[in-house]
Amino acid sequence: MTGLDTLRSAWHGINANLLRSGLTVLGLMIGVSAVIILLAVGTGSSAAVASRINALGTNTITVLSTGRFGRGPSTGGTQVRTANLTTQSVQAIEQHSQAPDVASVSPVVTTSETATYGSASYSTSVTGTTPDYLAAQDYTVSAGSTITQADVTSRKRVALIGQTVASNLFSTGQNALGQTIRLGSASFEIIGVLAAKGSSGGSTNQDSVVIAPYTAVQDELTGYAPFTELLVQAKSTASLNSAATEVENILAAETDTTVANLPFSVINEGTLLTTAQSTSSTFTTLLGAVAAISLLVGGIGVMNIMLVNVTERTREIGIRKAVGAPKSAILAQFLAEAVLLSLIGGGGGVLFGLIGTRFKIEGVTPVLAGYSIPLAFGIAICVGVFFGLYPANRAASLRPIDALRYE
């Protein structure tokens, strides 16, 4: 019996009961497309998380003025140092001899203010910082000019506004540049509008921001309170960890304490990225596992149908054996039937999967994982072989006398 004849016999078998074969194929199709779509959703969401973290800047280290949990400033010794992030801290880190991996340090003071322009008002966060902050945070100015070191030194009341702030204070078409807005009681001149960045991590809107020289913000809004945080940019993603260590050492020396007792939180964005990526890969694996279960269920469906087929066609098997079909030919025929079912199911599933991944699911844009198609298709075929083997073997092992007598 040639391969073509086997295939033809298998096709005959599938055609014999189209509804039943169709339902079996559907089961596999759902399994295969579920694997493809869910893996795409997983990949898509992890890509989204990665891009959000990238938007934060992957080569930045944030030093928060608040200590890590349970760790206050050291109270030992004669001197009690207040643990504040000050200009001294900034200058210490800026000493390149001590921190060769640090590209820039930006002090950050933040406050919440109501911005008003004319009758429009909008509550926004105000960030006082230096020009380096913009680069470290990937902010770009879409209109107007950026703030400069000179603005910082001369304590100029100038500000950059985010897209959300712009759209809330100004009507469409109105030019915000050169306008003066009020932040609390202070007046700031808008010299630039920031390009849209989108939200980070879903919670904070990075476009709802006013950025101004920290000197001006301290003068007008926060007073000479210590910095809320320092944003340290490492020279590269690779040097992120060494930069973080350097910053920790410098700050420990500054505050007369050890790195372990540092009253600040040094947050390495790289670690954040790794954590987020491992979280989303766990998520992807979980989705894949759920989908694999549905594929397994589909496989059991194949086995079930093949067992029914074998029982229903016992007489045919008897006839074939009587006219000289060897065991191997019967085995091949029924195995081919199971594999053909899973091929059709797998093919249809891939097609459905490809269509399914074109739609946004729960706010996640699925990203088709290249490996998922051969994976799902391959598993479907293996499932067909595995679950087809038992029924096929059962058919092949029937004794012709019994099979012929079967009613």
Partner: protein
């Protein structure tokens, strides 16, 4: 005994059974279906094996058809010692040496007549074109050349049995083995099918027919009767090389009557 030495120069017997015993275990009970049967069938013969149910004729049919192997004794089919064969070799023997015709036709329901006839050739190395050609020739021989594309359920019982007959002879086997081929047919159709067997025998094929009907056995050249697993009668009606008898309906009934009384 009937297996007496084959005359020198005679053709190799198609069937050679020597003291064949077949027993089954049914639970704890040993059932002996054949108790030492010896039979020689020469090429060109037309043999009817008769017996009531329980006589062992079904077991005989299974053994002759290589669907089962004897427990004891020897069985040569066209010179091949069947007892030494494994399952794969047995299917090969069934494929090449035997053409089966069953009581219930046993055609594959969703396949056309021609495809059914092609079936045995699927398990030989025969190309698709050759299969088709030979299947069409066989169908023509049984008078169904125009029915090749029909499904079995579109054919009458007699036509279905003729398709089965075409399937049995398409591989050109040394033996055509028919198990109650007219059991499901009415009298007129039975006669039609039996005439087909006679015709095949006239063309030189060896036919073994298993039946319990005397008017069917009347078509055979030789009638072997089984009872309780033993051959109780082996009567030759017509010489092996003579044409098969052509019983008329009347003589068949008379034959049945006379046999029925004597049995």
């Amino acid at each position: 005994m009937s297996h007496a030495a084959v005359p020198a120069g005679a053709a190799r017997p198609v069937i050679l059974l020597r003291r064949v015993v077949k027993s089954y275990r049914m639970g704890d009970v040993e059932v002996v279906a054949l108790r030492g049967v010896s039979l020689t069938v020469e090429p060109g013969d037309f043999v009817a094996i008769m017996g009531a149910s329980g006589s062992g004729k079904s077991t005989m049919m299974n053994i002759l058809g290589c669907l089962d192997v004897p427990s004891k004794g020897q069985f040569y089919l066209d010179g091949v010692d069947v007892r030494t064969l494994d399952e794969a070799a047995l299917s090969h023997v069934r494929n090449r040496k035997i053409g089966f015709v069953f009581q219930s036709f046993n055609l594959i329901p969703r396949a056309t007549a021609r495809w059914n006839v092609e079936l045995p050739m699927l398990y030989m190395n025969v190309s698709a074109g050759e299969r088709r050609r030979r299947a069409e020739a066989a169908l023509e021989l049984v008078g169904l050349a125009d029915r090749g594309r029909h499904l079995p359920n579109e054919l009458s019982g007699g036509q279905q049995q003729r398709v089965a007959l075409a399937r049995a002879i398409v591989t050109n086997p040394p033996l055509v083995l028919a198990d109650e081929p007219t059991g499901n047919l009415d009298t007129a159709t039975s006669r039609e099918v039996m005439e087909m067997f006679s015709e095949l025998n006239r063309l030189g094929r060896t036919v073994i027919l298993i039946t319990h009907e005397y008017d069917i056995a009347a078509y055979a050249k030789r009638v072997v009767r089984l009872r309780d697993g033993l051959i109780i009668d082996d009567r030759r009606e017509v010489a092996v090389d003579a044409p098969p008898p052509q019983p008329s309906a009347v003589t068949a009934e008379e034959h049945m009557f006379s046999q029925g009384v004597s049995a």
